[in-house]
């Protein structure tokens, strides 16, 4: 479903895609922090970072329509929060603060988007692991990413079952049925986690994930990537 869209541009061929994910994570994080650290009225600094991000985006060969689509989804959300700034502290200096907050938050969003679009999720997680994020957290995240698609399908099945038994949808009926649907989703998920755990045990699970494609620097020097 939606997750296929996320990895859609992760396997293109560009300098950004070939770069070691660890560097990409570090650079993206620095760009996010730079956007947050820029003082409120340094418009030229915002412009400079925006230009840098646009150049990087052009290098990545990801279609521009994708950037616009994601920005279009992000903008209404952040605008709603940003409008509160001039409303709550007066129109005069409120507008300036609002636009710089908005600019910084758009730049941070674009930097993260660039990282996620050019890096396959599995490589992103292994890069985070190499950057000393605890292994348990990484394992939980990677299992979660695998099962989000499965459970979104589960929600779809539950919804389909509901509409198959409902001729006329009404608000009252929705409120009577949808909470049960959420409850059922929880029950099925706990049961599924049991089955997943049993299946993992059967394959030798001892609390640690081991992968064949370990892109650690020592491996790469011995010609693993050539």
């Amino acid at each position: 479903m939606q997750l296929e869209l996320l990895d859609r541009y992760a396997h293109l061929d560009s300098p950004l895609h070939r770069l070691d994910p660890v560097y990409k994570v570090v650079v993206a994080t620095l760009l996010v922090f730079a956007a947050v650290l820029i003082p409120h009225h340094w418009w030229w600094a915002f412009a400079a970072e925006a230009a840098a991000l646009l150049v990087l985006f052009a290098m990545s060969r990801v279609p521009w329509s994708y950037l616009l689509k994601r920005l279009g989804l992000f903008l209404p959300m952040v605008l709603l929060m940003a409008v509160g700034v001039p409303l709550s502290r007066g129109m005069k200096d409120g507008w300036e603060l609002m636009f710089s907050v908005l600019a910084g938050s758009l730049l941070s969003f674009t930097a993260l988007l660039l990282l996620v679009t050019t890096t396959p999720l599995s490589e992103l997680l292994s890069a985070l692991h190499r950057l000393r994020i605890p292994a348990l957290l990484i394992t939980i995240c990677s299992l979660m990413i695998r099962y989000v698609a499965v459970l979104l399908d589960e929600v779809d099945r539950l919804r389909r079952a509901k509409s198959a038994r409902t001729f006329q949808a009404s608000k009252r009926l929705d409120w009577a049925v949808l909470p049960n649907l959420v409850g059922l989703l929880f029950i099925r998920s706990v049961e599924r986690s049991e089955r997943v755990y049993q299946a993992m045990l059967a394959r030798g699970w001892d609390g640690e994930i081991r992968t064949l494609h370990d892109r650690s620097p020592s491996r790469r020097q011995s010609g693993d990537r050539s």
């Binding site: 996320l6 994080t29 996010v32 922090f33 956007a35 947050v36 992000f74 959300m77 929060m81 509160g84 700034v85 409303l87 709550s88 502290r89 907050v101 910084g104 938050s105 941070s108 969003f109 993260l112 988007l113 996620v116 999720l121 605890p134 348990l136 957290l137 394992t139 939980i140 995240c141 990677s142 299992l143 979660m144 990413i145 695998r146 099962y147 989000v148 459970l151 979104l152 929600v155 608000k171 929705d174 409120w175 949808l178 909470p179 049960n180 649907l181 959420v182 409850g183 059922l184 989703l185 929880f186 029950i187 998920s189 706990v190 599924r192 986690s193 997943v196 755990y197 001892d206 609390g207």
Partner: protein
Amino acid sequence: MHIPDNFLDVPTAAVTSVVSAGGLGYCLHRLKGIYQERTAPLMGVMGACVFAGQMVNFPVLAGTSGHLCGGVLAAVVLGPWGGAVTLAVVLAIQCLLFGDGGLTALGANVLNLGLIGSAVGYCIYALVRRWTSGMGGTVFAAIVASWFSVILAAIACSLELAAAGTYPLRPALSAMLFVHAFIGIGEAVITGLALAFIVRTRPDMLHEDRAPAIRNQFQIAFGGLAVACAIAVLLSPLASSFPDGLEKVAENPQFVAGPEEPLLPSPIPDYEFPGIPSATAAGSIAGLVGTVVVFAVAMLIGRSVARSGGPASTLHAA
């Protein structure tokens, strides 16, 4: 309630990140103690479950819809540590993959929705649960807890935004509280109905309380003191700058010339502690000191009444 990037300044982001990293580390440690190597599959699948559950839209008013946040529901099923970790993982994935909530604000979001929205929500649930019984009691406790958890998360969120200087505190807090009082009702109703379904279908699935039972009345008393102190610290800066009704009338120049000198000099004039420059911190400290003093006095009265053979249940009822 996801704070995007750049709405928090670096100090606020750093403090909230350190607090949530510590809290999350502790939760993971406790989880590993309970579930051992089952932790990863359970948390992974439940994270996906909460994520998918948030995609179920409930119709609200004409055209609009809302969804469950699920902090308390997850905590009732998985326990406070599991609930907080589940929500934290969901927030991390939403931040990384969907840009929903910023990277620098991730610490604050995990603190608000994971640690406060789920783990603290569970504490409220466990507290209410003690005074109720049966399946209805479980559902009732979860309903109360999920409303309060939404409100507490909203308070924490607006305190962070105000500390960062993005919004002034009072309008942000009142707007957030107003909106989330309603959002909290939705969350509470959905949580209650969904939990009622789980309790009817799989009552064995709920997290059983492994915490040692509260042994004596002093633990209850100090638990109450801790909650009262937290509320006092959070809310007194707001209360301190609003003159109450009588004071406002008295300050009106047409009414009297001005408040007269009090008969006794108050130790904490106007609820603001002398010698501390920041009015907010002074308000908080004054609230804290006041709470402790009131508590100590109540304790003393309670004990003396109990000892003098009065109604012995005074302290139990308190």
